[in-house]
Assembly symmetry: C2
Homo-oligomer: 267 residues x 2
C-alpha cells in the first residue's frame, strides 16, 4: 500500500480519529481505536477484527514496515505530522500510531461455547466495570492461553480504547461473548462438561489444591463486592491464601495467579 | 479528638492539602498524601509513618469513627463541605478522605536487611519507574507477606500519591529501603544467606520448580527491557511459562504469581 498524506485535520478520510477522548464517551458506532505498535500488530496479525484504516506519524512509518505487510493491500494508511495528528486526536498523541477497527457482530455465548475444543480453559467475568481491570484480565487470559472470555451484562466493553491498550491487544485476540442469564449460563457450561470454579476470598480450597479438568471455567468478580452469593452457592469455590491483616488482591492479580496455575497444572 | 471545622479554602491549617495534583509534581517537602478510607486505616493502624492531619468531608466523618480511634489524640481532624474541599484540593475529591503523613528518614538498605528475620521473603525492584506498577507490587508484597521491598536508584517513589493509592496502603505498611550499588547489594544478600532469584522471560527454571529457601530475594525488572543482563548473569533466573505468541505479562501480574508461589510453597 502507498501511504496517504494528510495535511488537514478536517480531512474527512480521518474523521474517525477526531476528538478521541470525547468519542470514548459518546461511542463510535461499531468501531474501536487501537493504539501503539504492539496493539496494531495484534489487530493485523490475528484478523479477528477488520481494520478500517491506520493513522501514523510520518517518523513512525518506517518502523511499521513488517507489521503493515500483514494488512490487506487495500487498507488505507494515513501519514501525518505530529502537529496535525494532535489536532485530529484532540490531545498529544505521543505514541503516534492509531488504527480504527470495526467491531464484529457480537456472537451469542452459546455459539462461542460450541466452538471450544475438548480441552478448554475459559474465564467468566461478572460485574467487572473497570476498563483497566478488564484489559488486564484479557492480557493475562492471552498470556496463559485461555480459549475464551465470557462476560455478564454488567461488565464493561473490552473494546473500549483504554481496555484494548491495557490488554496490549489481547482484547483483539482472545474470543469473547456476553451472556444475559448467569444461572442459565452455569447450566449450559455444566451440560458442556465444564468444571466451574469461582475465585473468592472465602473459597473452600486453596487454588494450589484445585486440579485442572480438561474443560475448566474460572469465575472472577469485582474487587469490592466479589461474586454474588447466589452464584457462589452454585459453583465450587477456591481462594488464594494471603497474609493475615492484608488480604486484598486486585482482580487482575488474582486472574494472573489462577490462570498461571490452571495453565501449567496437571489433572 | 474534636473535629475542626474548615470554611475557608485558604485556611493555613489545611495548606498542605492545597492543589494536590500540582504538588504531586512539585514535591511536598517530606510529606505524602493518603487518600480514602482503607489507606487512612493502614496509615493509622501500622504507625510506620506519622500522620500530621486528616481532612474529611462532613458526611464521611461518621463512618470513620473506628479508624480515627486508632490515631493519637492530638491528631488534627479537619472537616469541611464538598465545595470547600474541591477548592482546597483543586479538583473534585469524590473520595472525601485525605490525610497528610510525614516521610520517615530513609533507612539504609543495610539497616533494613539487618532487621530481617531468619525466615524472610523480600522483593528487589530494579528500574520500576511507573507509579501504578510500584503500587501494585507493594500491594502484592503485602498480600503475600513479603517482609521488605528494596529499590534501586532508578525506581520511582513508593510514597508518591498514586503509588500509595494503587497499593491500597501497602506502601505505608511494607518496610522499604533504597540501594545505590546493585552489585554490592547482591553481595550483601549473599553474605546474609539469601537465595536470589531473578524473574525473566528467559529464565532457566519455571517458577513452579523453584523451591523456597528460608531467606529468599525476588528480583523484578521493568516490563519492556527486563532486568539488565549484567544482573541476570549474577543471579539464578526463573521464568513464568506463557502461551506461545503472547508472552507478555505486566510486572505487577508477574509479582503476584511469584509471590503467591513463594509464600505458599515449601522448601
Amino acid at each position: 500500500m502507498d501511504p496517504i498524506r494528510i495535511d488537514d485535520p478536517q480531512d474527512p478520510r480521518v474523521s474517525a480519529y477526531l476528538d478521541i477522548r470525547e468519542r470514548d464517551l459518546a461511542g463510535r458506532q461499531g468501531r474501536f481505536v487501537a493504539e501503539g505498535k504492539v496493539v496494531l500488530d495484534v489487530l493485523l496479525s490475528t484478523g479477528r477484527f477488520k481494520a478500517e484504516s491506520v493513522l501514523v506519524l510520518e517518523n513512525r512509518l518506517a518502523g511499521l514496515g513488517e507489521i503493515l505487510r500483514k494488512a490487506p493491500v487495500d487498507l488505507p494508511v494515513y501519514v501525518t505530522a505530529g502537529e496535525i495528528m494532535d489536532r485530529i486526536a484532540g490531545f498529544h498523541m505521543h505514541r503516534g500510531i492509531l488504527a480504527i477497527g470495526r467491531k464484529a457482530t457480537v456472537q451469542p455465548a452459546e455459539a462461542l461455547l460450541g466452538a471450544l475444543s475438548a480441552r478448554a480453559l475459559i474465564v467468566v467475568l461478572v460485574g467487572i466495570a473497570n476498563h483497566d481491570n478488564i484489559g488486564s484480565v484479557f492480557r493475562n487470559a492471552a498470556a496463559f492461553g485461555a480459549d475464551a472470555v465470557f462476560l455478564d451484562a454488567t461488565c464493561c466493553d473490552p473494546l473500549y480504547r483504554k481496555a484494548i491498550r491495557v490488554s496490549v491487544g489481547a482484547a483483539l485476540k482472545v474470543p469473547f461473548a456476553s451472556f444475559a442469564d448467569t444461572v442459565g449460563f452455569i447450566a449450559a457450561l455444566d451440560r458442556q462438561g465444564f468444571d466451574q470454579f469461582a475465585l473468592s476470598p472465602r473459597g473452600q480450597a486453596e487454588i494450589r489444591d484445585a486440579k485442572r479438568a480438561e474443560r475448566l471455567a474460572l469465575y472472577l468478580g469485582t474487587e469490592g463486592e466479589g461474586l454474588p452469593e447466589s452464584l457462589l452457592a452454585r459453583l465450587r469455590t477456591i481462594r488464594i491464601d494471603m497474609a493475615e491483616g492484608f488480604d486484598s488482591l486486585n482482580v487482575a492479580a488474582a486472574s494472573a495467579i489462577a490462570l498461571h496455575h490452571f495453565s501449567t497444572s496437571k489433572r
